[in-house]
């Protein structure tokens, strides 16, 4: 085996190396956390669409994101039903509401979803089964994962939604996370009572299930042909992608996490550059000696690059382990869907290697100045 010079150089001063690796590791951990939150937010913003059972969705041309879904004429849904291959069409209404806890007087916001009481619009059978209980007006199902600001409440008690007493007939587990404080599922009639009669003619979404055996893509094409241009037809995957894209690229919170990743990356690269540059400076004489021995410059650059890789990889291991632990902790404390997956582990490893490349390009120029003639 050849002498592992890069490794020997890297561990020659263990304390200094440990400090530098610790710094890089911390930067990678920050990246893991930011990327984790970003990933969890992606899951989070699509949570309602994931919970609803549909193949295609009809929404307004002016639709931005679910909380800002421009209502459209519900006549479009009737038109859609007659399109061949369409199984059923469910009208969905949504908007935000004000919550007040009658016991404690606590107030909070929430997202209301209105569907016909006799529909089975959800993937979760528990919700579908309970929909019959909201048939009487001013009844609602409330999300058990609503924020603590909802205060104590129980099924069978009344709460105030938009200041109207509403009976809680059941509960479900969804968790709005970043979207809202809580969630209430009501019938479309209750929705009109709570939100105002102006909603009667409108729908926010039309959830389309295709008939058994029909191809969703063909049905979507047929719908596009039949329905006027004020509505758009999207598949479930499309609308989820659109929702995530809006959150990550347009909403400040998504951009914030991305900036966090970039800043942590820059910090890590700066630390790696610092240690690599000082290492190259300290060993300039040794590199000149290697040149005098007859080692080509490429080998010496190789030693520098290997040292960068060693620092980056030494830092990556602890960062990965610690991030996995912190994800578990955060998940436990907040219910936020933070999970370590292979893609994220690979993404951060890629960033660590990019840091190394970045630092190497900036610091290895010094090697050119290692002059063997100066050794005498």
């Amino acid at each position: 085996m050849r002498t592992p010079l890069a490794w020997c150089n890297s561990i020659e001063q263990p304390r200094r190396t440990a400090a530098a690796v610790g710094g890089i590791s911390f930067a990678l951990l920050l990246i893991f956390m930011q990327a984790g939150f970003l990933g969890a937010a992606r899951v989070n913003v699509s949570i309602i669409y994931q919970a609803l059972d549909f193949d295609l969705v009809i929404h307004s041309r002016a639709y931005l994101t679910l909380p800002r879904s421009d209502p459209f004429d519900r006549l479009r849904l009737l038109q859609a039903v007659s399109v061949p291959g369409v199984g059923r069409v469910t009208r969905l209404l949504t908007d935000s509401y004000g919550w007040r806890n009658p016991r404690t007087g606590q107030t909070a916001g929430g997202m209301m979803i209105g569907v016909p009481a006799d529909s089975s619009a959800f993937v979760d059978g528990e919700i579908n089964r309970q929909l019959v209980t909201v048939r009487p007006t001013l009844t609602a199902l409330i999300d058990r994962r609503s924020r603590p600001s909802y205060g104590p409440w129980a099924v069978g008690e009344k709460c105030l939604i938009n200041d109207q007493p509403t009976l809680i007939t059941g509960s479900f587990a969804l968790g709005m996370g970043l979207l809202s404080d809580g969630c209430a599922i009501v019938s479309d009639e209750t929705y009109e009572r709570l939100m105002g009669p102006g909603n009667t003619r409108f729908a926010n979404l039309g959830l389309v299930k295709v008939a058994p055996g029909a191809d969703p893509a063909q049905v979507a094409a047929a719908l596009r042909q039949r329905l006027p241009g004020d509505v758009v037809i999207a598949t479930k995957a499309d609308i989820i992608r659109r929702e995530q894209n809006y959150f990550i690229s347009v909403k400040p919170v998504g951009i914030m996490f991305q900036v966090g990743v970039i800043v942590a990356f820059a910090a890590g690269a700066a630390i790696l550059y610092q240690i690599l540059a000082s290492e190259m400076n300290n060993r300039l004489g040794e590199f000149a000696t290697l040149k005098a021995l007859g080692y080509p410059s490429a080998t010496i650059y190789g030693v520098g690059i290997q040292q960068g890789l060693i620092y980056a990889l030494l830092a990556y291991g602890p960062a990965l382990g610690l991030a996995t632990l912190l994800y578990r902790l955060a998940r436990h404390l907040s219910g936020f869907p933070l999970y370590m997956d292979l893609a994220r582990a690979g993404f951060v490893l890629g960033l660590a290697l990019a840091m190394c490349a970045f630092a190497a390009v900036l610091s290895l120029g010094k090697i050119r100045r290692a002059d063997p003639a100066a050794l005498f």
């Binding site: 085996m1 050849r2 002498t3 010079l5 020997c8 150089n9 561990i11 020659e12 004489g285 040794e286 000149a288 000696t289 290697l290 040149k291 005098a292 021995l293 007859g294 080692y295 080509p296 002059d371 063997p372 003639a373 050794l375 005498f376």
Partner: protein
């Protein structure tokens, strides 16, 4: 005592100039240097600091680009050599620096291995080769030590082991014994001598250490960027030994003999070749270093060998002293090496030395011809 047959040229420096700096600050540090070093020679370079010794050494070691003139190492011209070829050249050169320049993160063994790993040595033998070399410099029990745990002398010996482990054809050293005690210094010098003798390694040492001078074949003295003297110690000693045997020089002091010896040039003649011919104008004085010759006189149309001259004999003085043409022909019976002294130098030496003059007159008187 005689000289080994001359070996091939290892280093040939010709017309070498070098400048440092640019524009206004440009300063010439080497001025028209010429030097020929043969294989297996140990050359010591001395001179005041700043005289250009080290610059010359780095130029020979392909560590610097040649600006003007030429250096040939084992026949390979260094001027204009592209960098990758320079790197390859360096693998054949062992550098011993004044500062040990060891790799601090590596053990003594690994430091030596870094040089071994540049060769075609099988990977399994790296440690064995490195350990053998460390043993040769007396450090077998320190192989696993890092430089910071070694003394200055031990570090220097590791550096020497690294320079010599591949048995380079050329060793360039800058004060190699400065950090060593008497015994280690002698040991290193012995190693260099052995490499030079057994492997034909050429060694150039910049040093002020008089203890080393005894192993040198030559001493090159540089002053202000120029080689001012180039003394071939061994050759001079051999010539002096021959000169002492000559009756003419018997009474001369060693320093006078050395002066004469240094002015003599080595000449080679093949079998049956004439060194001087009867009738030619005499311009040189000869001492035979090796081989035998016949002295042939032509008289009355017949040629006759009147005498046989061998190692330590001399001839040619008569024509110089009397300003006459040669009175006999000297022919080689076998390949012959002679040292010749020009007429000018010969007469100058005679004038400066009274006894020499007297001796000569006596000689001529007894020998005639």
């Amino acid at each position: 005592m005689s000289l080994p047959p001359p070996r091939e040229v290892a280093i040939q420096v010709s017309g070498l100039n070098h400048h440092f700096g640019k524009g206004e600050a440009r300063k010439q540090v080497l001025f028209d240097n010429n030097l020929v070093v043969r294989r297996g020679e140990i050359v010591i370079m001395t001179g005041p600091s700043g005289s250009g010794k080290t610059t010359l050494l780095t130029l020979i070691g392909t560590l610097r680009a040649i600006q003007e003139g030429s250096i040939r190492i084992n026949g390979q011209e260094l001027a204009g050599l592209p960098p990758p070829a320079q790197v390859l050249m360096r693998r054949d050169i062992g550098f011993i620096f004044q500062a040990h320049n060891l790799l601090n993160a590596l053990s003594a063994r690994q430091n030596v291995r870094m040089a071994v790993e540049l060769t075609a040595t099988p990977r399994g033998d790296y440690d064995r080769v490195a350990d053998a070399m460390l043993d040769a410099v007396g450090l077998s029990d320190r192989a696993a030590y890092k430089p910071r745990n070694l003394s200055g002398g031990q570090r220097q010996r590791v550096a020497i082991a690294r320079a010599l482990v591949n048995r380079p054809r050329l060793v360039l050293a800058d004060e190699p014994t400065a950090a060593l005690d008497k015994d280690s210094g002698a040991n290193v010098v012995h190693l260099l001598r052995e490499l030079a003798n057994n492997h034909g390694t050429t060694v150039m040492i910049v040093t002020h250490d008089s203890r080393i001078i005894s192993v040198a074949d030559r001493i090159v003295n540089m002053v202000d960027g120029q080689i001012v003297s180039d003394v071939r110690i061994k050759e001079t000693m051999v010539i002096c030994a021959i000169l002492r045997k000559c009756s003419v020089f018997k009474e001369m002091s060693p320093s006078d003999l050395t002066d004469i010896a240094q002015k003599m040039t080595e000449e080679h003649f093949a079998e049956n070749e004439d060194i001087v011919r009867a009738g030619d104008t005499g311009d040189k004085f000869y001492v035979i270093a090796r081989g035998t010759t016949n002295i042939i006189i032509e008289s009355a149309g017949t040629t006759r060998a009147v005498a046989k001259l061998g190692e330590g004999d001399f001839f040619g003085e008569v024509a110089l002293l009397r300003d006459q043409p040669r009175n006999a022909t000297v022919t080689c019976r076998e390949p012959v090496v002679v040292y010749s002294l020009s007429k000018e130098n010969f007469l100058a030496a005679m004038k400066s030395h009274k006894t020499f003059d007297d001796q000569m007159s006596n000689m001529l008187f007894t020998r005639g011809g």
